[in-house]
């Protein structure tokens, strides 16, 4: 990436040789991404993030062909909030499809929400909080049958690191990805199309990306994204096996070491890097402070603008009460995770939970 930021810093839209070199770099990146995602190169639009890609899909389609929007209740806020904005902007309804306790889309409810007027359906491939894999080919089949006029978008941001999105997402018309979720840099994502979909752009200006997303390309970021995507594709099988083993040891160890703790959606197909638990009788807000102090990075729900925790909409949609949802703990494993990390977590987390459950009282401090 450094090369494209320094020695060969050029604007791909220009016509001189430096520009042409930059242009070639992003063209090759585009080829790589198209191949991995199973689309044609002309059907990849580079964006500034996975969020922007999802926004382009949802808002772009609805503004171009207004009609009811159908989303799952556990979509990332990038999809949910874009859908809400599109609904307000274009004065169309949103139909939110529930999920089962296993964290996957309720196909019957989805079928009931689909009809010939629906313009856009958006269902993710892997849930970012719980890690559950959605039955996207069943979703696609239902959409073809019940809402033939609709475009199906899948947020594959969480899926790319673990699954062959080209294959699993084959039924979707639009696929959004985010580089930093698969080892690439922050600040770059892409929206890929499997068939021609007219979208109203979010960003207007020059003719880049076939007028679907204006603005000078983040050449270094795009190159980085493609390199990361190629690497993750090449190493995926081994990575999944190694990470899955670590995750399984972590889950088993925490379930054994902490009484009254439950794996969220046990038995559901899940991405190998996700460990998600519900811990009785503790507030994860407090738990995260203790874990942070002990060097274990974890999360629980989503943070609002001030940084305070909100109960997870995903858990609520799966049928958890708000109290139970406030005891959620998510630990994710990635490229750098090792057995030592799992050992550390198995030491720190049970001790932290025990401290909170004991309601340990600090003795009043005497005068100095």
């Amino acid at each position: 990436m450094g090369l494209w930021l320094v020695d060969r810093f050029g604007n791909p839209s220009g016509s001189h040789s430096v520009a042409r070199a930059a242009r070639q770099a992003i063209d090759e990146a585009r080829d790589t991404i198209a191949e991995v995602l199973g689309t044609a190169p002309g059907d990849v639009v580079f964006t500034g993030s996975g969020t922007e890609a999802a926004n382009l899909a949802v808002l772009g389609r609805t503004r171009s062909a207004p009609g009811p929007i159908v989303v799952s209740a556990i979509e990332h806020h990038a999809v949910l909030n874009a859908a809400r904005a599109a609904a307000r902007w274009c004065d169309v309804p949103i139909r939110v499809v529930g999920v089962g306790r296993d964290g996957t889309v309720d196909l019957d409810a989805l079928g009931a929400a689909l009809d010939r007027t629906v313009s856009l359906v958006s269902v993710q491939l892997v849930n970012n909080e719980v890690g559950t894999l959605q039955p996207l080919s069943d979703v696609a089949r239902l959409v073809r049958r019940r809402a033939p006029g609709a475009v199906l978008h899948t947020d594959a941001v969480q899926a790319v690191a673990w699954y062959d999105v080209g294959q699993l997402g084959a039924g979707a018309d639009m696929v959004s990805i985010s580089a930093h979720k698969f080892g690439g840099p922050q600040g770059v994502g892409a929206l890929a199309f499997r068939r021609s979909v007219t979208l109203e752009p979010l960003v207007y200006g020059g003719p880049q990306e076939r007028a679907r997303r204006a603005g000078t390309h983040n050449v270094a970021g795009i190159v980085g994204m493609a390199v990361a995507l190629a690497a993750v594709t090449r190493d995926r099988a081994a990575f999944c096996t190694r990470t899955g083993r670590l995750r399984d040891r972590l889950v088993a160890g925490l379930l054994a070491g902490i009484p009254a703790t439950y794996e969220t959606a046990p038995g559901a197909p899940k991405a190998p890097g996700h460990c998600h638990l519900l811990i009785d009788g503790v507030e994860s807000e407090a738990l995260l402070v203790l874990l942070d102090a002990a060097g274990v990075a974890a999360s629980a729900g989503s943070a609002c603008a001030s940084g305070a925790m909100e109960p997870s909409h995903v858990l609520l949609a799966m049928g958890s009460s708000p109290e139970v949802a406030l005891g959620a703990l998510r630990l994710t494993l990635g490229h750098d995770s090792t057995d030592a990390d799992v050992d550390a977590a198995l030491r720190v987390v049970p001790a932290a939970v025990a401290q909170l459950r004991a309601g340990r009282y600090s003795e009043p401090v005497e005068a100095r």
Partner: protein, 321 residues
């Protein structure tokens, strides 16, 4: 703490204010976490604030917040996490002497906030540090500027954190309870005209009633609010004056005062203390003042002080019955 999730321009609770806190912590090398206590805040502070207006009593949201959030929920969380103490920026002092913790007025009399801390007892005082209480506000700002804190010049936060300056109390309450008109009357029943929102009228109020202003001694004050009859009774200042204030819900920083104890009673957040004596036992009683004072609206907090050269000591306090 994230306490209020709605719009805020008081300088205390908005995302921008949280950012200020986060950045100052970064400068000082302190880990910064935000706890979501919005549900408790709604239940213990905002709900009662609204309900008090619907009953024509005076709420004390800042006192309710201290009692239920800062020195209850937050302090409990701190203890659970193994912390030794909590620290706030209240202008007040906590001292240790003769085997007890004392809560005293802050050094800067104009900024003293001991009044809103009256409900603290020994366990809370033992784990509370108030570093700015020994400084004047000016000294605090000078110190902040000297160490380069971005908040050194930030305006003082004002008023109730969940009431915006723009809309005020009226628009906040209008969204939650029905605000209805009433009649202003005299004690003898003469009608003095309408008032728009009777629920916003308080005992002791003189302004904002839409009356032609009078000069003393004819100034008129609200002496009673009757929501069932939809009237507010106006009278002369003399009609408002009382010799004693009945209190309930007393809490004591150390132990209850003996009946007959001399006290300085502060009857409002920024009021001048009135001298008198405490006649009561335990959690209820009355303050009998040396000179008459204006009646204290029901629900208003009254704090009892023992004068001391090292800073007047808060003996305890309660709410006007």
């Amino acid at each position: 703490m994230k306490l209020w999730g709605g719009p805020s321009d008081s300088g205390c609770c908005s995302v921008a204010d949280v950012e200020d806190a986060r950045r100052v912590c970064q400068q000082l090398g302190i880990p910064h976490h935000v706890f979501n206590f919005t549900a408790e805040f709604e239940r213990e502070v905002v709900g009662p604030y609204v309900a008090a207006h619907a009953r024509a009593t005076t709420p004390n949201p800042c006192i309710a917040c201290n009692a239920h959030l800062k020195f209850d929920r937050f302090l409990q969380r701190a203890r659970l996490l193994g912390f030794d103490a909590i620290v706030t920026g209240h202008h007040a002092r906590v001292t240790w002497s003769g085997g007890v913790w004392q809560l005293r007025r802050g050094k800067d009399a104009a900024k003293d906030q001991s009044y809103v801390l009256y409900m603290l007892g020994q366990p809370e005082l033992a784990q509370l540090r108030l570093p700015v209480g020994e400084l004047t506000k000016q000294e605090v700002r000078r110190l902040a500027a000297r160490i380069g804190l971005r908040t050194a010049d930030k305006p003082d936060s004002q008023d109730v954190c969940f009431i915006s300056k723009a809309g005020g109390r009226a628009s906040f309450l209008a969204g939650r309870i029905p605000l209805g008109p009433g009649r202003l009357i005299t004690a003898t029943g003469d009608d003095l005209g309408p008032v728009d929102a009777l629920e916003l009228v308080t005992v002791g109020q003189r302004r904002g009633l839409g009356l032609t202003p009078h000069k003393r001694p004819e100034r008129r004050y609200v002496v009673n609010v009757d929501l069932s009859n939809r009237t507010a009774t106006l009278g002369a200042l003399d009609d408002l004056m009382v010799r004693a204030v009945a209190l309930r819900g007393l809490s004591w920083t150390e132990r209850p005062l003996w009946p007959g104890s001399r006290v300085q009673a502060q009857l409002s957040a920024h009021g001048v203390p009135a001298s008198g004596r405490w006649e009561g036992a335990g959690s209820s009683g009355a303050v009998v003042l040396d000179q008459r004072v204006r009646r204290v609206a029901a629900g208003q907090a009254v704090v009892l002080y023992a004068p001391d050269d090292a800073g007047d000591i808060v003996a305890g306090g309660g709410t006007a019955a």
